[in-house]
């Protein structure tokens, strides 16, 4: 792990990159990283995020600045800007059931090619997907999902990069921290090694590539 400034970290992300961003309706999202992505005008992003949040908050800021050209998400209903950009064909949207969304990312992070899920069988979600029968039950084959970068928000980070998350801000963060080539983390508090007990670590240090230093 390396400790870097938010400017240095975001400078590593090229335009057109695929990025996973933690958070659920903007809760548990690395706001400082997104503010800097907007400031550096990183465009044509492929965004993988549970939802589009709301304008002005979380990944919503990326739609405010029209920086996203492709979105993989489970829900975008509360962000009218994302809806408008989708209807105007400025934004390609791949809608995925939320449980499938997280399993695909987990598969990507855990070296699995995919998972068999009952969710979506017989619905429009099944279109174009392989169906596989196991013991008489039909499942959809949902394939692994990875990104070049994961932008993760933790509650505590120690000097080695061990992370914990708080309350409902955990959500997709620990799963995404395993599923990207480069993992960049902001934390509410950076603490000395040993402050986080081994049993409380939710993302082990070796998964973190860059930790954003305090201002």
């Amino acid at each position: 792990m390396r400790a870097v400034s938010v400017e240095e970290a975001v400078a590593m992300i090229p335009a057109g990159a695929s990025i996973m961003v933690g958070g659920f309706m903007g809760v548990g999202t690395p706001e400082r990283l997104l503010d800097e992505v907007v400031r550096q005008q990183k465009s044509r992003l492929s965004l993988i995020s549970n939802d589009a949040a709301v304008p002005g908050k979380g990944v919503g800021k990326l739609f405010d600045a029209t920086l996203v050209s492709r979105l993989t998400a489970s829900h975008i209903g509360l962000n009218p800007k994302a809806q408008q950009q989708m209807l105007a064909d400025q934004l390609a949207v791949d809608l995925v059931p939320q449980g499938t969304f997280v399993e695909r990312i987990r598969a990507g992070g855990c070296g699995l090619g995919g998972v068999l899920t009952p969710t979506g069988v017989g619905t429009s979600v099944a279109e174009g997907k392989r169906q596989i029968e196991v013991n008489g039950t039909t499942f959809l084959l949902e394939t692994a999902l990875r990104a070049q970068f994961a932008l993760v928000h933790a509650f505590l980070a120690d000097y080695l990069g061990n992370l914990t998350y708080a309350l409902t801000a955990r959500n997709f963060n620990p799963v995404m921290a395993m599923a990207a080539d480069t993992v960049i983390v902001t934390a509410e508090h950076i603490v000395p090694v040993g402050v986080i007990a081994p049993d409380h670590v939710m993302t082990p240090a070796p998964l973190v590539d860059y930790l954003i230093t305090n201002r």
Binding site: F24, M25, G26, V27, G28, N50, D51, A53, V54, A73, S74, H75, I76, G77, L78, Q83, M86, V93, L95, P97, Q98, G99, T100, V102, E103, R106, T117, P118, T119, G120, V121, G122, T123, S124, V125, F155, Y165, A166, L167, T168, A169, R170, N171, F172, N173, P174, V175, M202
Partner: protein, 216 residues
Amino acid sequence: MDAQTIIARRVARELHTGDLVNLGIGIPTLVANYVPPELTVFFQSENGLIGTGPVPEQGMAHPLLTDAGGRPISALPGASTFDSAISFGLIRGGHVDVTVLGGLQVDAHGHLANWMIPGKMVPGMGGAMDLVSGAKRVIVAMQHAAKGKSKIVAKCTLPLTSTRPVSLVVTDMAVIAFPEGKATLLETAPSVSIAEVIAVTDAELVIPDTVPEMRI
């Protein structure tokens, strides 16, 4: 009593001590208000919490503790948090005893459509498809009709949420289940007649010999 209260109170009677329950947005959220205090029911918020409590008092909200809509909630003693993989493992794996969801249409076989209206906004299915596929019991809580049109239809015209039939539909007029794949009238709301239910139901209803009145 208004329609929403009738529905929420009736659904609450379906819950038992020890149940893990997921409530969708809208009418389902109201169900929590009518659970008898002597029941120990665990409410899950699919963004990563079991043990959701009421909206916190002024000044006590924490920005990192919200429901699936991003609104501040509280956590009861004995609450637990987890990531989204576990949250949907609980849902898909059948560990959620009851999910209560809103509906756009339910058809004569119990199929639910509740996630999109083609040609209109496409919000995305969120967790609805996983909940209907995985929860032990799926209860739809919705108005019986909207804009004069029955929401209990012969066959869903809107895209299905799952091909798995729901367990129960509770409306402001009736309680309907689907034994042997047929919509069957179990109860009528207070001061609603069987004939009135049939009149505003597009789906063909099986009417048992006795159809008691809802206890709410």
